[in-house]
């Protein structure tokens, strides 16, 4: 039986894993390679490494971190942040990533999705979408896409953009609720469900994980294929092995033992 995936996300800044609340107030959480191996040993089904302050100066740091993390990691490994063109993606694959995540660059140039998928396969292309609920609540565009690490609104509808990204050749959607990111108040199940029902590719829910119940809800009500969390895993609030036990007890199929 296909299981629901639990993905540990490492937000990286200057070669270190960090975690903030609503994309701000960063705290140090360790070395990427050590964090990734520890999470995988503890039952993480997949590791995502995001360079959250990606700049060209940081590019070498990112590639070094990818290389050292990939060396002893034998579960799927996704890398995102600062990938603007095909050559950037190629360098990240060459350093050992299995998939790349693109966000701002895909919004700017949707053809980039197909370009990378054409060379490395759709399974290697994750389109990351940062979405926020509109405060005015007007119109049917209820979730707006933001780019540049959540700093720039695009005026685009998240569900529509997910559909377009899938049509362009994306293999998965990594969907982050900016409203819930780092708050540990639960995933935005409504957002996740709308996107999951709009596309046939897997949807990874992100933003808001705080308790096992949140994961159960996003798999059942949100129809997520995978759920991603960062802070609760790094700071030991939630243990992945324990989380999987609770999911299994609740009737959610998970990979265990690993």
């Amino acid at each position: 039986m296909l299981t629901k995936r639990i993905i540990a996300c490492l937000d990286m800044d200057g070669g270190r894993v960090v975690k903030g609340v609503r994309f701000k107030n960063l705290r140090d959480a360790g070395d990427p390679a050590e964090c990734a191996t520890a999470h995988a040993r503890n039952g993480a089904d997949e590791i995502v490494l995001l360079d959250i302050t990606a700049t060209s100066a940081n590019r070498r740091t990112l590639l070094d971190a990818v290389r050292s993390t990939a060396r002893s990691l034998f579960v799927p490994f996704t890398v995102g942040g600062g990938i603007r063109q095909l050559e950037d993606a190629a360098a990240v694959f060459d350093a050992g990533a299995d998939k790349i995540a693109i966000n701002s660059a895909a919004v700017r140039d949707p053809a980039l999705i197909g370009g990378i998928a054409g060379r490395f396969g759709s399974q290697a292309v994750v389109v990351a979408i940062d979405a926020r609920r509109r405060v005015d609540g007007s119109s049917d565009k209820r979730f707006e896409v933001f780019v540049a690490g959540g700093r720039t609104p695009t005026g685009r509808d998240a569900i529509q953009w997910a559909r377009e990204a899938a049509a362009c050749g994306a293999g998965e959607i990594l969907l982050t609720s900016m409203d819930r990111d780092g708050t540990q108040s639960g995933f935005d199940c409504q957002l996740v469900r709308e996107v999951a029902e709009a596309v046939s590719i897997p949807v990874i829910a992100s933003g808001g994980a705080g308790s096992p119940r949140d994961f159960i809800e996003v798999f059942r009500d949100g129809r997520a294929d995978a759920a991603l969390a960062a802070s609760i895993f790094h700071f030991g609030i939630e243990n992945i092995a324990q989380l999987k036990h609770e999911l299994r007890d609740a009737g959610v199929a998970v990979r265990w033992p690993c």
Binding site: A70, F74, V75, G96, F120, S122
Partner: protein
């Protein structure tokens, strides 16, 4: 020496890295001559079935078929396993090796496609490749087309229907999943291949 066949599609780093980790002597090659002299051959595939057209152009198809015929252990991974069959619905014009009967097909519309994630294996008895692998072990899949259930099936998985997760006949092995991304279970399978 194990030759990992590079026909110009996708990223073979992860496969090489896993064999390196196991201490195996591996070389990534696009040369038919290197394939011919290798003791064992790994053929990882990724992407669209049409990309296998490149095998015909480069002489790699002949090299792979000769190695298979000469009883050299050959492991097809993902699209590389699909190639061991007669062909695929994904691209009717490109022929597979025809070592296993039947064609690869799309998943039924009752399930989302592609099939991505960790799924369990129903292991058949007597497989060399899956020796010591526990029943219902989890492996990582990512694919849109699946190989049919055949006589040489070494393990089955379920996703909307039952399909071949692994096949085996004599020196020929195929896995639809990615052993290089399947944690300890996957590494054990690759180790078994090294020891065949």
């Amino acid at each position: 020496m194990i030759a990992i066949v590079d026909y110009g599609a996708g990223n073979l780093n992860s496969v090489k890295k896993a064999f390196d980790y196991l201490g195996a002597e591996v070389v990534v090659t696009d040369q038919p001559e290197t394939v011919a002299t290798a003791e064992k051959i790994v053929f990882p595939g990724v992407g669209h079935f049409s990309s296998l057209q490149a095998l015909n152009r480069t002489g790699l198809r002949e090299a792979l078929l000769q190695a298979a015929g000469a009883s050299k252990p050959l492991l097809g991974i993902c699209l590389g396993m699909q190639w061991l069959f007669e062909g695929s619905e994904e691209c009717a014009e490109v022929a597979g090796a025809g070592i296993f009967p039947g064609r690869c097909r799309q998943f039924p519309s009752s399930v989302k496609s592609p099939h991505v994630g960790w799924n369990s294996l129903r292991v058949q008895q007597g497989s060399q490749l899956l020796r010591g692998i526990a029943q219902d072990s989890f492996v990582y899949y990512t694919h849109s087309f699946h190989a049919p259930v055949v006589a040489g099936m070494a393990a089955a998985s379920e996703y909307g229907l039952q399909f071949a997760g692994a096949v085996e006949r004599g020196n020929i092995f195929g896995v639809q999943f990615h052993p290089e991304k399947s944690g300890e279970v996957g590494l054990s399978i690759l180790k078994n291949f090294c020891e065949v």
